[in-house]
Every structure is written in C-alpha cells, then in structure tokens.
C-alpha cells in the first residue's frame, strides 16, 4: 500500500495542527503549573464542595422534619460500616499471625486460600521498633 513506509510527509492539515500544538501546548502547560492556577482551581473546588454541603444540610433538615433519614445519614452509616469492615480485616490478619505463631508447622492448602479472605498469614499491622542496621 503506498505511503505505508512511514517516509510520507504529513498532510497539510496535520502540519498546521502540529505547528499550532507546538505553539499552544508549552504555554498552556506553564499556565496550569502556576500558583495562581492552583489557587483558582482550589477555590472553585472548595466553592463546589461548600455548595454541595449546604444543599445536603438543607435537604437533611427537610427529611428530618418528617422523621426520615437523609442521604447524609446513610453516608455516615456507610462510612461506619466501612470503618468496621477495615477493623475486621485488620483483626483477621492479626489473628492469622497469632495462629501462625502458635502453630509454626501449620500450612494452609491452596483450596482454602482460594476462599475469600482464606489462608492469609501476615505480620500484624502494628508499630515495630525500628532496628537500623549498620551498612
């Protein structure tokens, strides 16, 4: 097929685009890296978050007036369930480590490991004294 060897000069429209892109790209990249851009974007995002918060607060008050839970209440519950789930996962890892220390010869079989949460043995999530070694 003609032109498939890669030596074909780019089409005129492509040359024009490349020239424009070469001119615009570095300038735009400089702009988005300025402190002013960071502050303006942060301000916009903060304003958006504040508006959402206000809207949620108003909606929550309305729902609470008729003794019903609002969306924010559900979110709080979801967060609490999430935190609980994390604690269970951490405890599971710690428990498995405990079991390991009591039965060092125990080995888990692959089938068990394929079950959700199965077979993990780990160092427990904890703070361990740092032991810097000499180089």
């Amino acid at each position: 097929m003609p032109g498939n060897n890669g030596a074909e000069p780019p089409a005129l429209w492509r040359q024009a685009f490349d020239a424009a892109e070469k001119f615009v790209a570095p300038r735009l990249e400089s702009v988005v890296r300025t402190d002013q851009f960071a502050q303006a974007t942060a301000l916009g995002l903060k304003a958006q978050a504040a508006l959402t918060h206000q809207a949620n607060a108003v909606a929550a008050k309305l729902w609470h007036l008729v003794n019903l839970p609002a969306g924010t209440d559900v979110l709080r519950l979801r967060a609490q369930v999430g935190a609980l789930d994390r604690e269970v996962r951490r405890l599971t890892l710690a428990l498995e480590q405990q079991q390991r220390s009591h039965g060092p010869d125990e080995r888990i079989d692959d089938a068990a490991a394929d079950q959700p949460g199965g077979g993990a043995r780990s160092h427990p999530p904890r703070g361990r004294t740092q032991r810097p070694k000499s180089p």
């Binding site: 097929m1 790209a25 988005v32 942060a42 994390r86 949460g117 199965g118 043995r121 703070g127």
Partner: protein, 354 residues
C-alpha cells in the same frame, strides 16, 4: 498519474478509517488485556494476590510485583507479546502480583499502614508459603514503589532479597498541577471525596489530564491520522482504555498522601510516619534498583531522581531511560532496555534452580 495514485491512496485509507471508526465506536474487536494465565492464591477485602502460571520457573526467590493504588494493574500485562509480566515469566521468574482491586466505601478508611504493614507482609508470607522460598524479590511500580519502599523501611527484617522500584515519586514538589492545588491552593482532600469516602476516578483522571492540557485533542488528531492502521487502533484501544480506567483512591490513604508525602514532602525530607512509627528510607538496606524515565510527564525525573541517595542500601543502582512513564513497562523501550535490565539485576541477585 501521481494525482490519481494519491486519490486512490486516500480513498483506501478513508475506507479503512470508516471500518476502524465503526469498530471503535461500537466497541467491537477490543484487544484482550491482562491475558497471561494466572490464579488467585490469596485475597483479603478487595485485594488479591495473583500467581502467574509457568512451567519454566527456574529462578528463585520468586518475584512479587506491587502495583499502584490509583490505576489498574493490567498495564503490566497489556497484550500478548507486549507484556511486562510475560517477559518476566519467560525469563524463568516465578511471578506474583498484588492487585488492590477496586476500592469501595469499605476501603475509605484504609491508611497507608494497611498496605505497608498489613497486606504487603501477608502477601509476602503467602508467596513464601507457596514457593517454599525464604525470601522474595519485591518490585513496585509508581505508587506501588512508594508502598514497597515504606514496607522495606518499616520492616528491616522483612524477607526481601532485593527491591526494585519503577517511576516512583519522591520529591512531590514536581508532581504537577494536581499536587500544587493541594500544596499551594490549600485544597483539602475532603473537598474532592466522593459519597463513598474515596477520591473518585474522574478526579484522578482530570489530575493526569491537567499535566498535558492539549494531549486530549492531540490524541484524537493522532487517532484520525492513523485510524486506517489496524495496529495503531489496537494499541490505541489498549493504551487509551487503560489510561482512562482509573480506580478510586481510598480516602484515608489519599489524606495521608496529601499531608505527609505532598505537603511535608515526607519521602524527601525524612518525615514519614507509618502506624505511629517514624520511618526512614535510610533503613532500606536490601539490594536496590530504581528505574526512572527521562521523558516521564507524570513522575518527572526531578521527582524520582533523589531516591538513589536516600536509601541506605550498599548495593544500589539507578537506571535512567529515555522513555515515558508507561514506556518503562510497555512498548519498544521496555522490551529492549527496561525489562532486560531489570531481569539482569534480579538474576544476579537470585539463583537459577534448574
């Protein structure tokens, strides 16, 4: 005659463009990604440990790859023939990958210590159990590199034979507009959290897009220009699919990242706290390789360059490559330079068992 040839050539290309355009628009003929055969050998929550099947694993200890928290790990096994994992398996390594899955509201409270002190040690233990090896070679990519560094620093007794990190950010002053918005704009992470308590993928995507504001337009122009090429379209689908396919960043880990790694620049300034302990990169003593890409626009060279001087390993090496962030693991530079160099580094610190 030349004019007629040119017209015929353009007509042919436009016919191919139409065909490939329809394929793209309808989503048919998508290239398969992450196809290397593997088994899930351990899981906890959304986190899974994958073991890549191989009948030619001759190198010990096994290699455990730790991926980033904000994108999908199939970039390391993009397509058959263009797969970082496949090359490692072919080189005789027994390869495992720790995939974080897709976080949801249950992961919103996950802190960095959950990964560094919880999942990572559990995965290392499981790899040792399965392989029978006493140690593992650990490899971290991008944010996964940070997790592996923090783990190695916080657990000097961790059974690591070596540590390799790729495109791992250290000096967060150079991490582009998104970093500046938090560091200088005063934005708090809570302002961008989704209803599930995590940083949503679209915020992460916008952060990456802001690094190169014209790239989105250029991408479509390039696509139109080369839409006639089946190879280009296949590569475009695989790469673009991945680069727009982010996952939520657990809220608590994101908050720590902004406060400790970004605002305090903790990795560079030695102000790291994991699970209540002070952690120092100087406590990383295992044989160490850092690979950085000189054309990386996501983790630019100044962001990752200081790492080599911060770790305490006596046996430490830095590899600088003329590649981009993804080019370290995908494409020609990866195939010709990155992967062979990593393989050489690991082989020289491993044993070939048969």
């Amino acid at each position: 005659m030349a004019v007629l040839d040119r017209i015929r050539h353009e007509v042919e290309r436009n016919a191919l463009r139409a065909r490939n355009g329809i394929k793209l628009a309808t989503g048919t003929d998508r290239p398969g990604v992450g196809q290397a055969p593997k088994d899930v050998v351990w899981r906890s929550g959304r986190c899974e440990l994958w073991h890549y099947r191989s009948d030619k694993a001759t190198v010990s200890p096994p290699l455990l790859i730790v991926f980033s928290l904000i994108s999908r790990s199939y970039i390391l096994d993009l397509t058959p023939g263009n797969s970082f994992v496949e090359r490692l398996v072919d080189a005789g390594f027994d390869v495992y990958l720790l995939d974080w899955g897709v976080p949801d509201e249950r992961d919103a409270q996950n802190r960095l210590e959950d990964y560094v002190d919880g999942y990572l040690p559990a995965a290392i233990t499981r790899v040792r159990e399965l392989s029978g090896a006493d140690q593992v070679n650990l490899l971290g990519y991008c944010f996964g590199g940070i997790l592996t560094l923090l783990h190695a620093a916080h657990h000097p007794d961790s059974p690591l034979r070596s540590l390799t990190v790729l495109a791992t950010p250290i000096d967060f002053r150079h991490m582009g507009p998104l970093g500046k918005i938090f560091a200088h704009g005063g934005l708090e992470i809570d302002a961008v959290l989704d209803s599930d308590g995590n940083v949503p993928p679209h915020v992460i995507l916008q952060g990456f897009r802001s690094l190169t504001p014209t790239a989105e337009v250029t991408r479509y122009v390039n696509l139109w220009d080369k839409l006639w090429s089946d190879d280009y379209v296949a590569a475009y689908q695989a790469m673009t699919g991945w680069s727009t396919d982010h996952i939520p960043f657990p809220g608590a880990a994101a908050r720590e990242t902004v406060d400790m790694l970004l605002r305090q620049n903790g990795l560079l300034n030695d102000r790291l706290t994991i699970g209540g302990d002070q952690v120092h990169l100087a406590d990383v003593r295992v044989p160490f390789l850092t690979v950085l890409a000189e054309r990386d626009h996501i983790v630019p060279e100044p962001a990752t360059g200081p790492l080599i001087d911060l770790v305490g390993s006596a046996d430490k090496h830095e590899l600088r490559l003329a590649a981009g962030h993804i080019g370290l693991v995908v494409g020609r530079t990866a195939a010709k330079t990155t992967i062979p160099t990593i393989i050489d580094f690991l082989l020289s610190r491993s044993e070939v068992t048969r």
